[in-house]
Symmetry: C2
Subunit: 210 residues, 2 copies
């Protein structure tokens, strides 16, 4: 039998990745095994050991897929600088569509694995630090525009925004019936509106005229 | 050999539960196996099958331990009704001590497992609904005391408080260096202070004199 043409090899690799993703979306990292991926493809585990010589290789590929899917997901065009951009970035994280829900479910599932491994814990910690950093310039713009108090701590607000949206993701994943799209968006709008008020980081009256 | 006295049996059961807890704190549910618990105890897996005839029985016991530890954890005495009680309840959730960190780490780890099982997903969803409900009466007291606007949506604020604190738990678990105790408390105080301001749930000017 002739070896498969390069195009076939690429197509098969894509099939494998899609099966890994479907297993993750249904069963999480706790259910990610060569056997489960093989069953999802109707293939043999022997075929899969060609792609993944170890469980570790399978998990590494799964984490790569998650990064790629997250980086490549569609994003909203912010309607304006400052807080509207912060709102759009937070909306891009929430599980508002089936694809967003699957991605979030896989991220939450990955936390068990990542917290059990020092290297993965540090990588994930750095990843969230970078995520918080993407919010800061927009919070600084909001401060410059007077949308939030002039002495607001934008680093702390960025941390608060990421904390709030991740916690809302968890609530929505466990209870989609109580957290449909409109409830998630209303909660997010309320959170963003409160950024405009004085927190503990602003001295009393310092940002008010009276 | 005589069978063990009832007291020995209870002591051994406690040893097993403590070993399960240590494995969970170090490796999460993804690392919870009879073999790992046996190694933690210096016992045989055969001895453990007496307590846990299946992986499912081990996981069920682990989830029970998590519930018991959470229910029995020490709590702060709130200094006053209303928002100070809300603040104290949120502080009781944050990973501020090693014991609180272990408990939170095990909860976050359990999400992978729970999201992969419809029954566990529904149980966890109901559990978080009850947690949100514990905040509502205190938010209603805060509203009565004028600490938050008179038309604030206490149900939505309870959901926001749980979302914020769970997301902060996740950030702190992955990055304890950037989220030491004082940073977590400062973020919480800022969040609670913002509850006093007008959100989107309050009509503009409706809670102000001017």
């Amino acid at each position: 039998m002739a070896p498969p043409a390069p195009g076939d090899h690429e197509a098969r690799r894509k099939d494998v990745s899609e099966a890994v993703w479907r297993v993750l979306a249904a069963k999480g990292f706790g259910g990610l095994t060569l056997r489960a991926v093989a069953a999802e493809m109707g293939a043999s585990t022997g075929m899969l050991t060609h792609y993944f010589p170890s469980k570790r290789a399978l998990v590494t590929h799964a984490l790569d897929l998650l990064e790629q899917d997250t980086a490549g997901r569609p994003r909203r065009t912010p309607p304006a600088d400052g807080l509207p951009t912060v709102r759009a970035m937070l909306l891009d994280i929430l599980p508002l569509t089936p694809a967003d829900t699957a991605r979030n479910r896989i991220w939450v599932s990955s936390w068990d694995l990542s917290l059990a491994d020092e290297t993965l814990t540090a990588q994930q910690g750095d990843r969230y630090a970078r995520l918080r950093d993407t919010f800061r310039p927009h919070l600084e713009t909001a401060r410059g525009l007077g949308e939030i108090p002039s002495n607001a701590d934008t680093g702390q607000l960025a941390s608060a925004a990421v904390a709030f949206v991740h916690g809302l993701v968890v609530q929505a994943l466990f209870d989609p019936g109580r957290f449909p799209e409109d409830v998630q968006i209303a909660m997010l709008d309320d959170f963003v509106a409160r950024l405009a008020g004085p927190g503990t980081d602003t001295a009393p009256g310092s940002s008010r005229d009276t």
